[in-house]
Amino acid sequence: MIAQPMFVYEVRLSDHILDEISFSRLSAADWDLLRAANLPLVDRIFDETKDVETRQAEHDDGARQAERELAQMYFKGDEIEQDYGATACR
């Protein structure tokens, strides 16, 4: 059993988190999977990531912008919390 106190906090997107996001590490098979799933912003990130070398040199290019938009959309959270409790009783 853990003896020390444990604390929780909610992660808010900041620049240093967004800077870590890079789809350029994905393999060709990964890209195929992502694109087949037709997920938001994937095509835009893919189109901007054609030249990976250039992209990594150019830190603030279109792909990075699209990745940031995606992360902000993904981690926006639910404005209205889903009710899994009383109204969902069986």
Binding site: M6, V8, E10, E20, K76
Partner: protein, 309 residues
């Protein structure tokens, strides 16, 4: 069109029960017809006429005793009556379920073996990326994959505990490094525990083991998350931090909906908030790959219906 509620005080005894039953069936049919398509309305009308015939014709036989009166034999009419008696509750319950107030797309249960193995591979990838990210911030650290545990919790809807729509569970194949730990069989109700909370709000959370003096202003004691005492006693003594990230599918043009929760547990070594937050960004593309795989195996479940008024 909805019929007015009837006052049960106006009737009594057996007739009250019969009358109440008739009222319920009548109301259910009225509401069912209201919610049906035009084709279904026609079919329901035919069914209704058949039902009336099935009830009236035997009475005619009994009273008049002349089979030729109804053109068909008593045996067929009795068979029709049986069909009507069996079909009525089925039609009523199928056609009228009230208004859905809670329903969502969830991963199918059980997930196909192939997708489970793919997800396990992704989980390993996430763990490796977490190690690489932490090392990039702390080159001197001896952290390795052996110091990290990882798991995916998915909602189980088929046999949820009373009072909740689902329960978050982690199947054995979607656990890494948890062998021998007592907390490997943890289950959480939505909104309880860190995973349960992440599942409901769709935002990542980080847990850190630290002292009261070193806590930050927005740190909340984990005990406020509804962790059971029995669960708390099973948390390993060498756990130092947890990163929990929602696995979310696109819901519409600009929103996502949570499918499950992925967590990484750091054992033995603690790290600053900034390092752990960086891990969230580093593993995000792989989490998005997990989303793309889970999206191929979704099913819609509805567990709550607004009662008929």
């Amino acid at each position: 069109m909805r019929s007015e509620p009837r006052n049960p005080a106006n009737t009594s005894g057996l007739w009250s029960v019969i009358r109440r039953g008739i009222d319920v069936i009548h109301d259910l049919f009225v509401t069912a017809i209201e919610q049906s398509t035009p084709l279904l309305k026609v079919l329901l009308a035919i069914y209704g006429a058949t039902a009336i015939l099935a009830i009236v014709l035997p009475i005619v036989f009994i009273v008049i005793g002349d089979p030729s009166y109804a053109l068909i034999s008593l045996r067929w009419i009795l068979a029709l009556l049986v069909v009507v008696l069996v079909a009525t509750p089925i039609i009523v319950t199928r056609l009228y379920r009230g208004t859905e107030i809670w329903g969502r797309l969830v991963p199918v249960q059980p997930l196909p073996d192939k997708i489970v193995q793919d997800l396990r591979t992704r989980l390993k990838q996430v763990r490796l990326e977490a190690v690489e990210c932490i090392r990039s911030y702390h080159p001197a650290t001896r952290l390795s994959e052996a110091n990290l545990r990882a798991h995916m919790m998915l909602p189980y809807y088929l046999d949820p505990p009373k009072g909740v729509a689902c329960e978050l569970r982690m199947q054995e194949e979607l656990q890494l490094g948890m062998e021998g730990y007592e907390d490997r069989d943890f289950r959480f109700h939505p909104n309880l525990g860190v995973s349960g909370r992440v599942f409901v709000i769709g935002m990542p959370k980080i847990v850190r083991v630290t002292t009261n003096e070193e806590r930050d202003a927005d740190d909340v004691p984990i005990d406020d998350y509804g962790i059971l005492t029995s669960q708390r006693s099973k948390v390993p003594a060498n756990l130092q931090w947890i990163i929990s990230i929602p696995i979310r599918r696109p819901a519409d043009d600009s929103n996502f909906s949570t499918l499950g929760v992925l967590s990484i547990h750091g054992m033995d070594q603690g790290f600053p908030r900034k390092t752990l937050e960086a891990v969230v960004g580093r593993i995000f593309p792989t989490v998005y790959l997990i989303v793309s795989q889970l999206c191929q195996h979704l099913v819609r479940v509805s567990t709550a219906w607004e009662p008929r008024t």
